[in-house]
Every structure is written in structure tokens, then in C-alpha cells.
């Protein structure tokens, strides 16, 4: 237990990840049909990312088979998956363990 000195400020201990609100990963998976330019364009549009960041994630999808695009609350993650699937990208959300 940490020693608390008079006049010192007690800093709340950081909670372990499992005690925090669970996060959900929005993942885009590779497929051989969506054009790289189109995937980049959709990432820019859906997330408001600059082109470089969108291209980075697009290349990760292409080269590594998937890219974790963002970690969000359940509702936000669902929103992003809806948006990506609306554009016919292969996207899912997974609980961040």
C-alpha cells in the first residue's frame, strides 16, 4: 500500500484494463475485390482521416490481411461497422480482450 504523507495528493490508482468499460475494435479485413484507392477513399470519408493515415491502414489491410482501424465504445464501433459495410467493405467489430 502506498504511503500517504500529510498534504500530499492521493492519485487514484490506474484500474486494470479489464475493469474499465470494454472497448470494441473495428477491423477491416482484406478481400481481393475492393480497389485499394476505393478503400483509402472510404477510410477518409468515414473516419475523416488525412490521406496518409487512410493509406497506411489500407496497406495494412492489403499486406497483413487486416487492420484495426479504431477502438471504440459498443455504439460507436457499431456505427463505424455499419458505415464501412454500407460501402461494401469487409469490416467487423470484435471485443478488445
Amino acid at each position: 500500500m502506498p504511503e500517504i504523507l500529510p498534504g500530499s495528493v492521493q492519485v487514484a490508482e490506474e484500474k486494470p484494463k479489464s475493469d474499465l468499460e470494454p472497448g470494441y475494435l473495428v477491423i477491416c479485413w482484406n478481400d481481393p475485390v475492393n480497389y485499394m484507392d476505393y478503400v483509402t477513399h472510404v477510410f477518409q470519408k468515414v473516419f475523416g482521416w488525412p490521406r496518409k493515415k487512410a493509406e497506411f491502414h489500407m496497406l495494412q489491410v492489403h499486406e497483413q490481411g487486416k487492420s484495426v482501424l479504431t477502438r471504440e465504445s459498443l455504439e460507436r464501433a457499431e456505427h463505424y461497422v455499419h458505415q464501412l459495410q454500407k460501402h461494401s467493405l469487409h469490416a467487423t467489430m470484435e471485443r478488445d480482450e
Binding site: 476505393y38 459498443l74 461497422v81 454500407k86 461494401s88 469490416a91 467489430m93
Partner: protein
């Protein structure tokens, strides 16, 4: 097909006679992705996963129905395509171009799904699969032209 930006930020597209016919044919195929095709999650370890999946399926179905109505309205709108000596001219606002990209990609991906979602090259071209291969490639052609125009 040639594209150019107009002063009001609209995208003006010049199509020769054959290209207009092809664009109309491709748009007429929308929607091609089967309903309830995509899972919300691969692991399915989400709270209320089934309800979430149902919500996703409904949202996508509603979106496709609205897009379908918009495609039909576009194709029925005679004055939208302006006849020129060498073909046709049509202009789209930025949101309309985004919408067109979405529609064209549905036709492309949906045709690929109908073809059996081949990982690499399509096998033998047959009388049965040729129309789907054609639709996939044509949708891709118009998509890339629009993406290049947006990037210019």
C-alpha cells in the same frame, strides 16, 4: 469517358454513346450484394450480438432500398443526361459522386460474390459467369474513373 470539375464544384462527365449505355446497364443491376451477407462480428462475442446483427441487416436493407429508388429516379430522369454531338454529358454534385461510388462498388462486390468470391483469377469464362464478370469489371471501370476525377 472524360471528367472535369465545374465552377460550382460539380463533376461534369462526358460519355460517348456506348459508355452511357454501359453506365445505365451497370447501375440497373443495383443492388447485387445479397441481403444479410456480412457478419457484424467474426467472434460473435458481443453483448446482444443477435440483436446487433439484426439491426445491421435492417439498416443495410433500408439503405439499399433507398439507393435502389434513387438509381431508378436517376435513370428515369430524361433531362439529367444532356445529349451532345459526340455523346452525352451529365453532372453530379460531390454527395452524388460519393453515392455513385457506393452503388458501383455494390455492383462490383456483389458480382464477385455471385462468381463465388474467387481469391485470385476467375477460372474458366463461361456463358453463365461472363455477365457477372462483365458487371464486376464495368462497375470497377466507372469507379476508378470517378476516383481519379475526385483526386485531380
Amino acid at each position: 469517358m472524360k471528367t472535369q470539375r465545374a465552377a460550382d464544384n460539380k463533376l461534369v462527365i462526358h460519355l460517348d454513346r456506348r459508355e452511357k449505355q454501359l453506365l445505365v446497364q451497370v447501375l440497373g443491376l443495383y443492388p447485387r450484394i445479397p441481403p444479410a451477407h456480412q457478419p457484424l462480428s467474426k467472434s460473435a462475442r458481443l453483448p446482444d450480438h443477435e440483436a446487433g446483427q439484426q439491426l445491421l441487416n435492417e439498416a443495410l436493407a433500408e439503405q439499399r432500398a433507398a439507393n435502389r429508388r434513387q438509381v431508378q429516379a436517376l435513370l428515369a430522369e430524361d433531362r439529367r443526361f444532356e445529349e451532345k454531338p459526340d455523346g452525352w454529358q451529365v453532372s453530379f454534385s460531390q454527395p452524388e459522386v460519393e453515392w455513385l461510388l457506393e452503388v458501383l462498388n455494390d455492383v462490383r462486390v456483389g458480382s464477385w460474390i455471385i462468381l463465388g468470391s474467387p481469391e485470385e483469377k476467375l477460372g474458366k469464362l463461361t456463358r453463365e459467369n461472363a455477365p457477372h464478370f462483365w458487371a464486376m469489371e464495368m462497375a470497377g471501370y466507372f469507379q476508378m474513373e470517378l476516383l481519379h476525377a475526385l483526386a485531380d
